[in-house]
Amino acid sequence: MIKGALVGFCLFLQFSVVAQDSIPRFETGTALHLHPIDFWHTFEFQAHLKKVSPLFSVGYGINRSLFQRRFFPHLGVEVPFKLISTSKFNLGVGPSVNVYFLRLNRAGKSMHFWHEYMLGYRISYGKRWKFTHGSAAGFRMERFQSELTNQAVSHSSFSYQIHLGVSYALD
């Protein structure tokens, strides 16, 4: 089901890109996210197409990476569909997928993986320099190999995130 959704998402994105008749605009930025697992700091790259503004982010968990000195990377893709789009204000709603992973125990072999599927909104305000805000809710899957039972363990739970950031329009 997840593979089907990902294929559908890629096809839709491709279709959206092919259907554009205007030159896309790009933005880069950074944001801080409030999240149950950690506070995330992400670096983002967004393309503004006709109907959607896909965003790719890479980041790290602040608590784990900086205060606990265990690098906790985060990768994300968001596809907000434009509801309001003016020269200064943008509002979009859409799905996002996030993946992060962490080795809890350096003495062990097991890596913990999380993948997250959420729906939310994204707002940006400004012309060249923009203030961004968004939030999303959905569910999160955690998966790891138990070294005690030698079996894969997976759990799902409700997840959410709220973020604030700044971005810069590159053109």
Partner: protein, 265 residues
């Protein structure tokens, strides 16, 4: 773009710095994966929470809250009353096993209340199980007096459990000394060093359970010098976890098991 790369590289470097380890401290999940923790996944004292805590590499066991039903069976539940967090009301001690088996938590996943015996399949020889005995009945405002029944229930659990390290905890000294069967070692919970040392002198207890904020390293060492063990609890934030680990207790009961495993290893 250069400054973004620089920040990223600096983060990785900071994250990969060598850090101290604490090989002698054993980690236990508080009521499973933690009490009132956002990232605990399941509610405290549920079977799912305990199973997850025991399956994490680096976790040495769990501390769970034990109360006794009207039928004398041991059930796992933290609060004095059922009202706030479940679809029922009253106290565990006032309910029969049949009534308790229908109760669930008011959470998204509606985890059920479980008997102590239900965790038996998830324990192993390497696990430590600490049973926090909640002997106070808030509905009658008194401590449970059917001690023989309680002891039989606990010894029955101990005989069936694969874990060889099972301990009981209580903060009520007068109630603790009434237990005649000493097959299961007791820890005494206290906030004062003088009370801890007095309990050690007067009772054959295994050790002392203390809050992280109430005892420093010297006081813990003083207790350990009497050849008794020390358990620290009430540990949540990474800063709190680090301070608790540095006190070198024998056991650390943590509300954030994942963060504690990261700190220890």
């Amino acid at each position: 773009m250069r400054w973004i790369n620089l920040i990223f590289i600096c983060t990785i470097l900071v994250a990969c710095r060598k850090k101290e380890t604490f090989p002698t401290v054993q980690l236990l999940g508080h009521a499973g994966m933690g009490l009132s923790q956002q990232n605990a996944v399941y509610v405290d004292n549920s079977l799912e929470s305990i199973e997850l805590a025991l399956s994490l590499t680096g976790s040495n066991g769990v501390e769970i809250d034990v109360q006794f039903s009207k039928d004398g069976t041991a059930w796992l539940f933290h609060d004095f009353k059922l009202d706030e967090r479940t679809n029922s009301s009253g106290c565990i001690a006032e309910k029969t096993d049949e009534e308790l088996s229908k109760i669930h938590y008011k959470t998204l996943k509606k985890e059920k209340l479980i008997r102590l015996s239900e965790i038996l399949p998830y324990t192993s020889e390497s696990h430590i199980i600490i049973l926090d005995l909640k002997g106070f009945n808030a509905c009658t405002n008194s401590y449970l007096s059917n001690l023989e029944s309680i002891e039989n229930e606990l010894v029955n659990f101990k005989n069936k459990c694969k874990s060889t390290a099972i301990f009981c905890v209580t903060p009520n000294y007068d109630w603790m000394i009434q237990f005649k069967l000493i097959e299961i070692p007791f820890f005494f919970e206290t906030d004062e060093l003088s009370s801890a040392l007095a309990a050690i002198e007067n009772q054959p207890i295994e050790g002392i359970v203390v809050r992280n904020s109430k005892f420093d390293r010297e006081e813990i060492a003083q207790i350990q010098a009497t050849e008794k063990k020390v358990v620290i609890f009430e540990v949540r934030s990474p800063k709190g976890i680090r301070s608790a680990l540095r006190k070198l207790p024998d056991y650390l009961i943590t509300d954030d098991l994942r963060a504690t495993i990261i700190e220890k290893y």
